[in-house]
């Protein structure tokens, strides 16, 4: 991957300056650009979003039910937000150049489940989809609950192109892996220099080759007969060791869930990392429905994940995936059939109004509901 840097935009820099009324908040060494506080009140009317945003004494408040995207009116390298949510809400971050489409849920999907109590969340925009020095941050809130941004800080884009390139390369090299639906097929690539398209594997292989040659040279300098097998082992150790240190300490460890959780219900409720609201709804349905109830799961018309996940987690209850307009429905992989009149309960996730005759008995939000036949 090579990133083509657009020429630095003075208008973007001006927008950053405008948004960043900087009462303190500057951190970092003199050599590094520092985070600057962004006045939330100054953003009033300038955030592009279809959602309802409230600017209150607590900060920026947003009621989320489904997907709520926000496009911030300035360019930055990274953001820090003091944020909390009172329900299962995931924050996805990406960037886009004004007027262009962003793809926040692509292969380099960057996301975090928002904390239930105020905590600082770091969002490195450089490693997210669509970032360029003039791109504006795009935040997408997904789930059910009320989100409060108490404070926002931004790391401005440096004006020096060399510094900018170095910062981008550093960010990409040290970026943790990010779970997505496609992680099972492939991991995000690792670059020594993403801006120049130099793969980390090429550099590590070069270092391993040097170790092999160096080991042979050292044997000869000591007057011993060269042992290519030993030199090969040294090269292999350098290759695997360097790669493992990078991959497991830098890429994997930060993203893994290492908190021992003994309760299976808690794991289902909290550990659907890319869809925390689906996991929470599945856990809610497990607790609300009896084991002999026959269930229909409904998801968004353009998605398969939610309905399947809900049905899977409701086993051994009989569960089918409801398709609008059909009278008989089938379960996962077509296993198990239920007619409309055989269904006792419905778990609906962003699926529009409930079918006639069902009333909500538990809910995460308006569009994440467990319902029973009246």
């Amino acid at each position: 991957m090579s990133l083509r840097f657009a020429p630095f935009s003075w208008s973007a820099a001006a927008a950053v300056a405008l948004a960043m009324a900087a009462p303190g908040g500057a951190r970092g060494t003199a050599a590094e650009p520092a985070f600057r506080s962004v006045s939330l009140q100054a953003l009033r009317g300038r955030i592009e979003s279809p959602g309802t945003l409230s600017f209150t004494p607590r900060g920026l408040e947003i009621q989320v039910d489904g997907n709520t995207p926000l496009a911030l009116p300035f360019a930055a390298q990274a953001l820090e937000a003091d944020v909390e949510a009172d329900g299962p809400v995931m924050l996805t971050w990406a960037a886009r150049v004004k007027g262009e489409q962003s793809h926040p849920f692509g292969t380099s999907w960057r996301h975090v489940t928002l904390p239930r109590k105020v905590r600082r969340v770091a969002l490195d925009l450089r490693i997210a989809d669509g970032w360029t020095p003039i791109a504006q941050p795009v935040l997408v809130l997904t789930g059910s609950g009320r989100v409060v941004f108490h404070a926002l800080r931004a790391l401005p884009v440096p004006s020096d192109p060399a510094e900018l390139r170095a910062a981008f390369d550093r960010a990409m090299l040290w970026a943790p892996e990010s779970f997505g639906q496609t992680t099972i097929n492939l991991l995000n690539p690792s670059f020594w220099s993403a801006s120049r398209g130099i793969w980390l594997s090429d550099v590590v292989a070069g270092a391993a080759g040097l170790a092999l040659v160096g080991a042979l040279a050292a044997m000869r300098l000591r007057g011993r007969r060269p042992r290519p097998g030993l030199a090969l082992a040294a090269g292999a150790l350098v290759a695997l060791g360097a790669w493992n240190i990078h991959f497991f300490l830098v890429r994997f460890l930060p993203m893994l869930n290492l908190h021992p959780t003994f309760d299976a219900e808690e794991r289902i409720r909290n550990n659907y990392y890319v869809s925390p609201d689906v996991g929470a709804l599945a856990a809610l349905a497990r607790s609300a429905l009896r084991s002999d109830e026959r269930v229909g799961a409904i998801g968004p018309s353009n998605g398969w994940f939610a309905a399947q996940t809900i049905c899977f987690n409701l086993a051994p209850r009989r569960c089918v995936i409801l398709k609008p307009g059909e009278r008989e429905h089938v379960g996962i992989s077509g296993v198990g059939r239920l007619r409309d009149d055989e269904i006792d309960a419905i778990v609906a996730y962003r699926a529009g109004p409930l079918p006639d005759g069902f009333v909500p008995v538990a809910a995460l939000g308006p569009s994440a509901v467990v319902a029973r036949r009246r």
Partner: protein, 467 residues
């Protein structure tokens, strides 16, 4: 944790089988890991034969009968032998052929192997914690891989359910369901525990075998190599079966490497039995396991030229789980659907042959680039394994034809060729669109890592005159 019940039962069944078949290695840790691999394989092969072949519902009694059958057989055999030979206790079935005195668990020099052991321990613990914590991610619009064991628990096999079983394979279908059947309740995380048990079993097998055979360096290097494949470690924390198949093949290759070194027929038998059991994982298990098994059988046939008898018993151990499971699969879905990957390969080969002139050559060219450039060397999904493999083959090119590592390398090569052909020739579109090549490669990468560990530790230990 009810899964512990399944673990104990299957290890007991496996130990009984290992003892009855005289496949024990004489090392407790190695035998315990081998017992899991064999015991779970026994249940996976027998359960569908009983359920679909004999038509007996798989309830608590049936499952107990299947699991306890080897224990009963071994007890009877042991009692008879005990009366005849007055042997008070079991003894190793095959004396370990160590090079010298019993070696240390952590080899020397410590400055090198202590960090390696620490890394192995750290990554294992991390994988266990994350794997246990992470619920099943339903994985595409049609299938949920961890769904098959629920069907085994439910035991009402509709046509659609049988098709799911045929796709998942007997081992991922029946092993996670054993404790559910025994206890009568369903804990979704048993699928995770089953996959993680496979990981621990393979690591214990690698380290224990190396240590027991006088080469703990090889054991730790094997574990280190395995855990140097990032996508493999990630898969171990999921409920997909790609890593399970790779680990089962890896278990077979560990004993194939030992056989190449020791020429102990017992190791060849263990290798072939584990490869036979590997064929019970996923729809492609039989095809994948066939490649290294064919190489090992060819090696045995080649060595027959020296006048030794062909080890039919070892080949029988390969065939037994395959045939037993085939009975169940054919009874479940019919001959035409029992081996779906075989049919798929034949169908795709016909398509590839028909479209030789018509298919966009760019598709195959891009698939080849993706395979040989990105997937093997650059994307990092397989770590640095293929860089080191190529380096090892180049540096050891002169020594390899005479070395004990040649036949196992051919087995790795056969696996690699299978994956390459399926990715580039048979289903290049799928390889490109879904990037499935990375996880398809795990069945070659895991054996490659084990081969490298053996080849490099032997090469490093070799004195200059021995090269």
């Amino acid at each position: 944790m009810t899964f512990l019940l399944a673990l104990v039962l299957l290890v007991a069944a496996g130990l009984a089988l290992v003892r009855t078949l005289r496949l024990g290695t004489g090392d407790r840790a190695t035998d315990a890991a081998l017992a899991w691999l064999v015991g779970s394989g026994w249940f996976a092969a027998a359960a569908p034969a009983v359920r679909f072949g004999a038509g007996i519902p798989l309830g608590r009694v049936t499952a107990a009968a299947i699991v306890l059958a080897p224990v009963v057989v071994w007890s009877v055999a042991w009692a008879r032998r005990g009366r005849l030979e007055s042997a008070p206790a079991a003894r190793p079935d095959a004396a370990p052929k160590s090079k010298g005195p019993v070696s240390r668990w952590i080899p020397r020099p410590l400055w090198l192997f202590a960090p390696i052991a620490l890394y192995v321990a750290l990554v294992t613990v991390v994988a266990l914690l994350h794997g246990i914590n992470t619920p099943t991610y339903t994985d595409d619009g049609v299938r949920v891989r961890a769904f098959a064991p629920m069907l085994a628990f439910d035991d009402t096999w509709s046509r659609e359910a049988r098709a799911v079983f045929s796709m998942a394979g007997p081992l991922p279908t029946f092993v996670p369901a054993l404790a559910w059947i025994a206890i009568g309740t369903l804990d979704h995380f048993h699928v995770n525990y089953a996959v993680l048990t496979e990981l621990v079993a393979l690591l214990v097998l690698a380290i224990g075998l190396g240590s027991a055979r006088g080469s703990p360096e090889r054991g730790w290097a094997s574990a280190f190599g395995l855990l140097s494949i990032p996508l493999f470690v990630y898969h171990c924390t999921s409920t997909y079966s790609d890593a399970v198949l790779a680990m089962r093949i890896g278990g077979g290759l560990l004993f194939a490497l030992e056989y190449a070194r020791t020429r102990d027929r017992g190791d060849a038998s263990r290798a072939l039995l584990l490869l036979g059991i590997a064929s019970l994982v996923k729809r492609e298990g039989d095809l994948v396991a066939a490649a290294p098994a064919a190489v090992l059988v060819a090696q045995l046939a080649w060595e027959r030229r020296g006048g030794s008898a062909f080890p039919w018993r070892a080949v029988g151990l390969l065939a037994a789980p395959v045939l037993l499971a085939a009975v169940g699969k054919i009874a479940a879905v019919g001959v035409a659907s029992a081996f779906p990957m075989l049919g798929f390969v034949v169908q795709q080969a016909a398509v590839a042959a028909r479209e030789t002139g018509g298919r966009d050559p760019g598709v195959s060219a891009r698939a080849a680039t993706l395979f040989f450039d990105r997937a093997l060397f650059r994307s990092g999904n397989q770590g640095m394994i293929y860089w080191v493999l190529v380096g090892a083959i180049v540096v050891r090119a002169r020594a390899l034809p005479r070395s004990t590592h040649l036949w196992p390398l051919l087995a790795v090569g056969a696996l690699f060729t299978e994956v390459a052909i399926s990715s580039i020739v048979l289903i290049p579109e799928f390889t490109l669109d879904q990037s499935t090549v990375h996880r398809a490669l795990l069945v070659a990468s895991v054996p490659a890592a084990l081969w490298l560990a053996a080849a490099l530790t032997d090469a490093a230990a070799a004195r200059p005159a021995q090269r």
